[in-house]
Symmetry: C2
């Protein structure tokens, strides 16, 4: 419990207007997009690295748990303050410090929203590809802390692929700078990448430097309708075999198609087993050639309808179905849990089939969309967290999905993170040697276990 | 000193034919491409992870220093056994285990040579872009341990950008697996990237998994001759500004042009201050458009001659000058030290000018080639390591080049590593907070300080 003296000390660091400890305000910071909640004792909204550093010096001295939070969109409980203490809300550190076209880099604070950043880049003909589903609201600090992915990862990779440098406040309050503004850097150990995806458990990100690329000249999306899921899966593999690396390559399964159609009335083919979305980009001449070859490929592979967007509006229209999947599912039941298992692309169909089998076994409704091009499935488990009997089945289903993904050569999480959601099953994938190293790294950076404790790895 | 009992124990692990401790054989493993030497007491050539593990258990028990070595092409002394002990030579662990086109991944042992790997991929229409200058001989284990770059990094990034997973033998002999065959993975801390570039100081890489991309349809190189270095530098920046991301973007400076011309007689323009090489790739239609725009750009920016390769042979011909730079320089004096400072692209010309100034100040011959597109300069310091007076000036020149790069917002090393060469100056860039973390990470992985001691960071 925070004493009044400590609360007053913390309040003095950020000032009255950026300190909250009444119950209504704290409730705002007690949850994210996962199902676990935990109320903090104080929420602080720093505006500078120096404030974060001073807060951590107090937290360190008093051994107060500190949970970093951006927009709170995490799907694995990573931003929930399970042990009370302080929530550090980074939304006011939202300044883009520099967009440097000559050096192809941008420097900004962690509270900058992904889509706002993208808009500024587009104006300048620049591009930062990572596009998590939450991009309209999620902060870049959260994107880095979770190593966010997104549909464009097939061609362009994920957050870590663009990260050049960080400023990080350590548990002690010391300020560390890693990497820098150069596109190449092998000076010392790669601490930048160690913080990326560490979910706030090793340090607090206070400044981010990323590399940028030129905005592609144009892009085009195809939608192919398959009666047969495995035909769609085989098509995904064939896309690479014919030498095309699309920006995005998404599958929407039959359950999702129907859930989306119920909600959006887009005229989707309810009888289809899979919608395949393929986006390509580049110079117009290349895009035209590739979309032609892809149309032909989809037809050869058994698609009974292929639609190619001719305009920006048609492009957006095709993506509408995919983008509605989460919302369309979430409205059906009180609780929606987005799974994130990832398998090698060749095992994509097998993993789809496993999810179908597991949904039947546990009598659950589980529509699935997938970033098929990188084997990343998002089974959306629709349930009611107040129904204890059903939740027991949900827990078993998630466990079985996770184990099956690892058995198929995959991983527990492709882009959502471990957080609380996958903490218990983490050793199943990592094994004891990696778990021991993981605990040792955590202890090296956070000897008092005050940085987002209970997340990723339990320190006892 | 290794006792005969321990030597016999080590010999028994790998067998007679893969164990060496006589002076002539050991001499082979006492140097790399840097100027420091150090003789090992035993050289072992393991063929399996199990052998490496057993060797490390003995080394750990007996506290024997172990230096990993591939082809020994390191330019910073990273593979020199400065404390004697064991050299582990990975050249016999050179099997490509799997090239998986559907999943876009390859799995192989660390002794596989970069170019051999590339050849196997080309046959299958696949591509692994990183192309260090040493690629004809250097091993992939060394490439990963040093996070090797190369000219193509401008568009395609460096080794770490393709690395998906590793098998690593730890100091204790335990075997760790990180990452895997999925293109996305945020399960736990990013240990894969921590080992990448750690120069054999945290663990021994025994298996590597990388992602692959489709082989681009075609590529084309331009050569532009500039009377003025700063015009060439401004052209580099303009290439990005007009929205082109070339594969490679290289500058060869006046000193290099003349050194190369003396050696190769290629008909290079001796009066030019800079040759600019630009390579683009992709579908033919896109490449034709981009090379046209680049030709026009170079002319506008003051190039008085622009040559575009029309055939594969002409492409190779253009690259010949750049590829000869190291050899042409090295033949002039007994010792050649390849520097590796890297600055933001916008400070490229300023850094070239600093190198020219420093060469004059210390009366040294320093031709420079640069991966200009990512600000990575390779001043080649030509000297004679037996001339003690001159070497004092060389040491001062290198120190001044390094400090100037950091002052210009850059880094000590873009792709060669810290090794022994940059160990003393490392704190100048990292600062004390990062140095402390670096030491702590080293101690976490290697508490006995037996893995490539004296490299990157000194543990006392």
């Amino acid at each position: 419990m925070l004493s009044q003296v400590v609360k007053d000390e913390l309040k003095a660091i950020v000032g009255e207007g950026r300190y909250f400890d009444n119950e209504e305000d704290l409730l705002l910071y007690s949850y994210d997009a996962f199902i676990v909640q935990g109320q903090p004792e104080a929420a602080l909204l720093p505006v500078s690295t120096e404030e974060v550093s001073r807060i951590m010096k107090v937290a360190s001295r008093e051994r107060i748990p500190v949970t970093a939070r951006g927009a709170g969109t995490n799907l694995a409980g990573g931003s929930v303050p399970t042990r009370g203490g302080i929530v550090l809300v980074f939304t006011k550190m939202n300044r883009i410090i520099e967009i440097d076209k000559v050096n192809r880099v941008a420097v900004f604070q962690p509270g900058v929203i992904n889509m706002e950043f993208q808009k500024e880049l587009t104006k300048r003909g620049l591009y930062y590809p990572p596009d998590p589903g939450s991009m309209a609201v999620s902060t870049m600090g959260g994107n880095v802390a979770e190593n966010a992915g997104g549909p464009r990862a097939v061609k362009y990779g994920v957050t870590s692929d663009y990260l050049l440098g960080l400023e990080v406040v350590l548990a002690s309050g010391e300020v560390l700078r890693t990497g820098g503004k150069t596109l190449k850097n092998v000076t010392g150990y790669n601490l930048t990448q160690l913080f990326c995806g560490s979910e706030g458990t090793l340090g607090l990100i206070t400044e981010i430097t990323v590399k940028l690329i030129p905005l592609p000249e144009t892009k085009r999306t195809l939608q192919a309708v398959f009666k047969n899921l495995s035909d769609a899966g085989r098509t995904v593999a064939r896309v690479f075999e014919i030498g095309i690396l699309p920006v995005a390559l998404e599958i929407v399964d039959k359950v999702s198609i129907n859930v989306i159609e119920d909600y959006m009335h887009l005229g989707l083919p309810r009888e289809a087993e899979a919608l395949l979305l393929i986006e390509v980009d580049g110079p117009e001449a290349a895009v035209a050639g590739e979309s032609g070859r892809l149309t032909q490929l989809c037809r050869e592979m058994g698609a009974h309808e292929v639609k190619v967007a001719g305009t920006v509006e048609e492009n957006d229209e095709i993506w509408k179905a995919r983008r509605s999947a989460y919302g369309a599912g979430a409205r059906l039941r009180p609780t929606a849990i987005a799974e994130d298992c990832t398998v090698p692309v060749g095992n994509l169909v097998a993993m789809f089939q496993e999810v179908t089998r597991i949904a039947e076994k546990y009598q659950l409704l589980i529509p699935v969309v997938a970033h098929a091009g990188d084997g990343n499935l998002h089974p959306l488990i629709l349930t009611d967290s107040s129904d204890q009997e059903e939740m027991k089945r949900v827990v078993k289903a998630i466990d079985e999905i996770s184990r099956k993904a690892v058995e198929l050569g995959g991983t527990l999480t492709g882009e959502h993170g471990i957080g609380i959601a996958k903490r218990e099953i983490l050793p199943f994938e990592l094994g004891e040697v990696a778990m021991e190293i993981t605990r040792n790294i955590k202890k090296t950076f956070d000897p008092l276990n005050i940085l987002n404790p209970d997340k990723v790895v339990l320190i006892v």
